[in-house]
Amino acid sequence: MKYQSQSVAKLYFIAAIALFVAQILFGLIMGLQYVIGDFLFPHIPFNVARMVHTNALIVWLLMGFMGAAYYLVPEEAETELHSPKLAVALFWIFLAAAGATVAAYLLVNYATLAHITGNELLPTMGREFLEQPTITKIGIVVVVLGFLFNIGMTILKGRKTSINLVLMLGLVGLAVFFLFAFYNPDNLVLDKYYWWFVVHLWVEGVWELILGAILAFVLIKVTGVDREVIEKWLYLIIAMALISGILGTGHHFYWIGTPAYWQTIGSIFSALEPIPFFMMTLFAFNMVNQRRREHPNKAATLWALGTSVMAFLGAGVWGFLHTLAPVNYFTHGTQITAAHGHMAFYGAYVMIVITMISYAMPLIRGRAAANSMKSQVVEMWSFWLMTVSMIFITLFLTGAGILQVWLQRYSDAPQAFMVVQEKIALFYWMREFAGLVFLIGLVIYIVSFFIEGEEATVS
């Protein structure tokens, strides 16, 4: 760690991992509710568990991005963070808001929560992923603005690298597109149309800039490849991401009341969306093959390579599977979508945050370069357990989805939703089992932080 102020990232990383645990626990609850319908009912109904599962994910990824930025930006800018105190204060505000929101989901009836938080004044609640009370959303905006100010000032006073500029652009985009969360007209079609400006333009747009910048940073560090080469790759990857991804938004406008031409536009551009992810895979492997140094942090390199492969599989391949309009007509809103969502989020965004944590945390904790080999081996075990179990979760959900599409949508005698759900229960059981293995992987990941030993060096 070159600058003292980079250490504020630690708080963010710890909170991110804690929320990650909460996310997985509630995922397991939901997975069980798929097969034991009355599990925890009516105390934690499915919709509440799902809010915790998805909202915890979003918040911990945001925490991870912020932590990554607080670590990365000063090092790239070659200067101390503008205000470490502001970063710490915003952390506690963010954590308190997130904690209070999750507690409210679990303790208060949702309709009551909407009422007591004044949802009537500016109704924004009750929409997928945007379930947070309006005051929480305002809190998120305040925290993100303070965060952008802090890293923006740091970049302004220091060296302006391409990585910093791309990261900043991604984070500003994140803030700008989130503002569509406050637009919720009575007309459902308009509501859905602009809802995607938050959801799609985040995960298939500006978040890819954040992902690319973090990956480029870590690859420079662990491979020692020339910055010019890495930044050229970065620009090409994010160029393809936005060239395909912006009009790729159209793949959400097939069946929500929007004009039919979106079926053509959405199909063409979203079919291109795997390209930037494939380039990312080539990029990561090429850079590691051309490495000019042997970095002792093998675990971080593994996560960096892993995220490039899993993002391509989850976002690229599993996205393409159901993105063409004639296919999507039958798969839209089935377990196929769930399969894609799980692997894409894990591969692209969970793994990039862990890549950054894996690289930065040993340095923040005072190591010269890396954790002990013993600790790294355990961490790499957790990599394989979580990654392989996520592949199985995705395959089981895909199996469930194919059967669901066949029985409920495609065959000559379509059957009712709940009838079909019972017929495919075996796949849900298998998914739950894979989920348990994922949890074991996550526990092992956390254990790896507590394994001491002599620091790994390069022979």
């Binding site: 319908g37 009355d38 159209g250 929500i256």
Partner: protein, 144 residues
């Protein structure tokens, strides 16, 4: 990745491409906004329909159901529930009202939301309006 193809070329492709396609999205959005009134039948969005959407949101219905294929995949699609229930608002209201508070042993069951008569009518009216949106004949069949 060598020779004349430099980092600044790559950067220009990024900025040029992004701005161009962002402008395309804005242009297509304007066009879509112009064509939507004929497809969403917004003239039928009464105060009751608007209230129904509010009831839908305040009870987080999207946390289990899909609506036009978006939402959670735990419970049936509802954009065509009005048609599936024989074009009967009463059937929709009756179903919502009849959910047992303690659930059904071993099975998925919708929570009892204790909606008022006014709220029940509004949410049924909202679902009726949704069923009439021109959504390119989705879902493929009545089962959703």
């Amino acid at each position: 990745m060598s020779g004349a193809f430099t980092k600044s070329t790559a950067r220009n492709i990024f900025y040029g491409g992004s701005v161009f396609f962002l402008l395309m999205l804005i242009a297509l959005t304007f066009d879509t906004m112009g064509t939507l009134p004929e497809r969403d039948h917004r003239e039928n969005i009464t105060e009751q329909v608007a209230m129904g959407k509010k009831v839908w949101e305040d009870n987080n219905c999207i946390g289990c159901h899909t609506l036009m294929g978006e939402g959670a995949y735990f419970a049936p699609e509802l954009a065509n529930v009005y048609d599936r229930f024989g074009k009967s608002k009463e059937a929709i209201m009756g179903f919502i009202m009849s959910r047992p508070a303690e659930g059904v042993p071993g099975r998925r069951s919708m929570p009892q939301f204790n909606l008022s008569q006014e709220e029940l009518e509004a949410v049924a009216e909202f679902l009726k309006w949704v069923s009439e949106i021109d959504d390119e004949n989705w879902p493929p069949n009545i089962q959703g």
